[in-house]
């Protein structure tokens, strides 16, 4: 049977990302509304009250420039806002301030790793716009009602439109994951898809290899990686089946039904989609001079991919460890700052503490890396005690856990709990003698197995000393005693 697929999927993503600015895009209301009571983060501007006017948020513009740079885009030297006119209750002005023909960034790309190797997806454009309010339909007092919350109205959004370069559901997923990581690492987006801070619309079509694009179907509003992958899979399948059965596809917008795991047609619009774009007269065009772009570029945090490269090449970590450490920018920050604070320690050792003990404790407590009490200084302190031999590795774990729970520094913990390693050979000799006397069976095992299995004996000494014995010295003493 031929391995050549009859149809090739052609996929593009349109991602909306909420920016982490203090204020909204066009007014000074707080942009972080999660958890706030409805309509409490609002003002005349984001409510579209008669006579109100927008003023562009400079911080949002700079974050947008940073994203465009990270996506390898050309930055427009002059950019402007345009009105996208359409009526809906959650669009308070009856138009959304967006960008039409002079997007801030264009012609960029994202490189990402997928199962097929390295892939590149082109970026058509990156532009700024404002988010809408939220409409909730329900019942109240026995009637069908629609309620609108304008807290979200005016929150800065970046729209990132890719070229339809993606060719599989896995590729689409990886692209979206990579894009999210880029945004999170820049510190411009929380990446929280549950909260709606990051949303994706997907365009899917299929075609016979070598021929023109097929009919394009848009799937709107996906908010998880899994949904992206599943929706694309379903849609490719649906389209191929339809065509193979001799049917025709309609260009349409569909939604993703999470429960049924399929795309479903959405109600067609009541009116043709003519947004009547025209330049926003309330906002003068923005100059984006090279000096500003350079300033933004100089502030850009290191990208996750670059970090992983550095971890492997400079720190000598495995690709796996590098991937684990960069899962969360806070974790990576801890890594880099601890390396700096503890130059005497091996990066590999630091990595082990973070990917081992720290991740275990984070998982157990459900704590976010950003708020963990373990600081680079605290970890460096612990590493020093280990390097000096003041404590054993086993004790190290105990101290680490205590540091995690209380934020107290290692030296204090060791002192207060008397955890200093027993390193005096005379002191240890006595304990060793006691253990050897008490464990004839283990001694026999040691001797019979060619003096290589001192582990259990060391273990017994550790038990007897509450884990504080210096394992290396114990090992030598045992060897000496039983030679």
């Amino acid at each position: 049977m031929s391995g050549e697929p009859a149809y090739e999927p052609v996929i593009g993503l349109e991602v909306h990302a909420q920016l982490l600015t203090q204020s909204k895009m066009f007014c000074s209301c707080s942009a972080s509304y999660s958890g706030a009571a409805p309509n409490t983060h609002v003002c005349p501007v984001d409510l579209g009250l008669p006579g109100s006017l927008p003023v562009a948020n400079q911080a949002a513009v700079e974050q947008a420039i940073m994203v465009a740079l990270a996506l390898n885009c050309q930055i427009a030297p002059i950019t402007k806002f345009d009105r996208k006119n359409y009526p809906y209750p959650d669009i308070p002005k009856g138009y959304q301030i967006s960008q039409y023909d002079t997007p801030l960034g264009r012609d960029g790309y994202v490189d990402f790793e997928s199962e097929t190797g390295s892939e590149r997806c082109g970026i058509i454009r990156v532009h700024m716009e404002e988010d809408t309010g939220k409409t909730i339909h329900g019942r109240m007092g026995g009637k069908d009602v629609s309620l609108v919350d304008y807290n979200r109205s005016g929150v800065p959004l970046l729209e990132i439109v890719s070229h339809p370069d993606l060719r599989s559901s896995a590729g689409a997923r990886r692209y979206f994951e990579t894009l999210r990581e880029i945004l999170v690492y820049l510190g411009v987006c929380s990446g929280d898809m549950q909260e709606g801070a990051l949303r994706a619309d997907i365009n899917v079509s299929v075609r016979r290899p070598g021929s023109e694009h097929g009919v394009k179907v848009e799937i709107k509003n996906l908010n998880s990686f899994r949904a992206v992958a599943r929706a694309v899979e379903f849609e490719i399948d649906r389209q191929v089946r339809c065509l193979e059965a001799g049917g025709t596809l309609t260009q349409e917008t569909r939604g993703w039904d999470e429960a049924a795991e399929k795309t479903v047609p959405q109600r067609s619009k009541e009116f043709a989609e003519d947004y009547r774009y025209f330049p926003e007269p309330d906002l003068p065009p923005l100059d984006v001079p090279k000096v500003l772009v350079d300033a933004v570029r100089s502030r850009m945090p290191e990208a996750a991919a670059k970090k992983r490269e550095r971890y492997v090449n400079h720190y000598g970590l495995t690709a796996y460890d590098a991937a684990v450490l960069t899962q969360d920018p806070e974790l990576a920050r801890l890594m880099d700052q601890t390396v700096a604070a503890a130059p005497f320690a091996e990066p590999k050792a630091i990595s082990n503490w973070l990917t081992g003990e720290l991740l275990r404790l984070l998982h157990e407590t459900g704590m976010e890396p950003a708020v963990v009490p373990i600081t680079p200084q605290l970890l460096a302190g612990l590493l020093k005690l280990l390097a000096d031999g003041t404590i054993s590795n086993a004790i190290g774990k105990t101290v680490f856990e205590e540091m995690f729970r209380s934020g107290t520094n290692a030296a204090t913990i060791v002192r207060e709990r008397g955890l200093t390693q027993m390193g005096d050979p005379e002191e240890l000799r006595q304990v060793v003698e006691q253990v050897l006397t008490a464990n004839p069976g283990l001694v026999k095992q040691y001797v019979e197995q060619d003096r290589k299995t001192e582990g259990p004996l060391i273990g017994q000494v550790m038990k007897a000393t509450g884990g504080k014995a210096n394992a290396a010295i114990v090992k030598d003493l045992i060897a000496e005693k039983l030679s």
Binding site: P44, L47, P50, P87, R276, F278, D282
Partner: protein
């Protein structure tokens, strides 16, 4: 003041809302302030605001039923500045609905009338403000000018009306009609008063991204009666054959007066004048269509029930908007639509740039440009209602200034068959000082503008 308003305004219709209690309160506060020696330029001065300016706690309708009952929770910048000065708000004045009109007949409530002849229009869209000042009901009023809506009613009512340079006065709190054309300005009896009010309301506002950073000069200091060295442009396009004879005569006499005051007259041409009207009637309705999209009954104002959201929108807007507003929304929707945008909106904006360049060239040769404010004196109520285009022609001399963003003033220059004629003086962008100087010099050199409408004799009171 309030009793005169009550007596006169029945027949005049210049106020949509008289804020009696508030006025008394503010007047008393002003008295205290004056007694304490802490008065400012406008403390205690009775004034009115066109009902298109947002006033906290005071109903603001924009002359439209769709905003019936809307009480703003925030103060427009100019209202705040006047409040800080201690000026006393007598009320909100009548206007063409959403500032769309030239006669105040398109008010959603009732028309205003010209104090010089109650059967005639006061002009528009700031007809209420002009009538109130003309009838002596307030010392000054604020109007708004998008295509001539301060200057034309000022001209028809025999008072002074100033349209500042675009961006000179903050639009924060000015309910938008055409965002790139709207400006707020003073309507007064004297140029001196206008200069005083302008000096208070002009200046940068961080809440309005289109407001200009340029410092505000001392307008009062620039008022002299000597015009030596001033070059006054007389544009042939402002004296077409169809110009009403009485208007022509008064304006030409005014020009002679300027010459006597020392000004040098220069003949100029503004060839783009004939194209300004048609391009204005593409650009303004387009912006208006978008600005008026927010009146949907969801958050404020009038709401009609509908079984679906679309029904609610349709019914609310159908019931709430008047014919002229609907006409302009449709015009704008058409001009901006896919397939027509380039041919209409883009083209109109390109013509606009040519209008701006027209003036730029002219101001290389002259300091100000003069002509009639409007082609005719006040027309009768109802006369132009069935012919929108005839109505639009009232602004043919005023709207080029809005398209170019420059400043302009109308000063009374005499009567024609008992009706006021306005002399329009246009100044270069940000050159209000020269424009006001010429206007003031004219007022000082002539009796015109000191006449009062007959309505005042009927209701004469001892105090002003």
């Amino acid at each position: 003041m309030l009793s005169r308003v009550a007596a006169v305004d029945q027949s005049l219709g210049s106020f949509l809302l008289v804020t009696e209690a508030l006025a008394m309160e503010r007047a008393q506060a002003a008295d205290r302030r004056i007694a304490d020696g802490e008065s400012a330029l406008l403390t205690g001065i009775p004034m009115a605001l066109k009902d298109i300016i947002s006033t906290t706690g005071v109903a603001t309708t924009c002359g439209s039923r769709i905003l019936e009952g809307y009480v703003p929770p925030y103060q427009g910048q100019v209202a705040q500045r006047l409040l800080d000065q201690g000026a006393v708000l007598i009320g909100k004045t009548n206007m063409d609905e959403f500032a769309m009109g030239s006669s105040t007949e398109h008010s959603g409530f009732f028309p205003a009338r010209n104090p010089w002849d109650l059967e005639r229009v006061p002009g528009g869209s700031s007809g209420g403000s002009a009538a109130a000042v003309s009838a002596g009901l307030v010392t000054f009023a604020l109007g708004t000018d998008t295509g001539g809506s301060i200057r034309q009613p000022a001209g028809l009512c025999g008072v002074v009306g100033v349209k500042p340079t675009y961006g000179r006065v903050s639009r924060y709190g000015l309910v938008a009609f055409a965002s790139s054309l709207d400006q707020i300005g003073p309507i007064t009896r004297t140029v001196e008063d206008a200069a005083a009010v302008l000096s208070v309301i002009a200046g940068e506002d961080p809440a309005d991204a289109t407001s200009l950073r340029a410092p505000v000069p001392d307008y009062l200091a620039s008022l002299t009666a000597d015009l030596h060295g001033i070059r006054v442009g007389v544009a042939r396009e402002y004296f077409p054959d169809g110009l009403e004879a009485g208007v022509r005569a008064n304006v030409e006499a005014a020009i002679s007066t300027l010459e006597s005051a020392g000004a040098k007259m220069v003949d100029i041409s503004l060839p783009m004048t004939e194209y300004a009207l048609s391009s204005y009637y593409i650009v303004a309705p387009s912006e208006a269509m978008s600005n008026l999209a927010r009146y949907d009954g969801v958050r404020f104002g009038h709401r009609e029930h509908g079984d679906t959201i679309w029904e609610m929108f349709d019914r609310t807007r159908n019931a709430g908007f008047g014919r002229e507003v609907k006409r302009r929304i449709l015009l704008g929707a058409y001009a901006l639509s896919k397939g027509y945008y380039d041919a209409y909106y883009v083209k109109a904006q390109q013509v606009r740039e040519l209008v701006r360049q027209d003036f730029q060239r002219a101001f290389e040769q002259v300091d100000v440009i003069v002509g009639p404010t409007s082609p005719t004196t006040a027309f009768r109520l109802g006369e132009r209602l069935s012919d929108p285009y005839a109505m639009y022609l009232a602004d043919v001399f005023t709207l080029p200034a809005n398209m170019a963003g420059i400043c302009g003033v109308s000063v009374p220059c005499g009567l024609s068959e008992g009706l006021p004629v306005g002399l329009q003086i246009l100044g270069n962008r940000l050159d209000e000082a020269t424009m006001l100087k010429v206007a003031h010099a004219y007022q000082q050199s002539s009796e015109n503008g000191t006449q009062r409408p007959p309505i005042l004799q009927e209701h004469a009171t001892a105090a002003g």
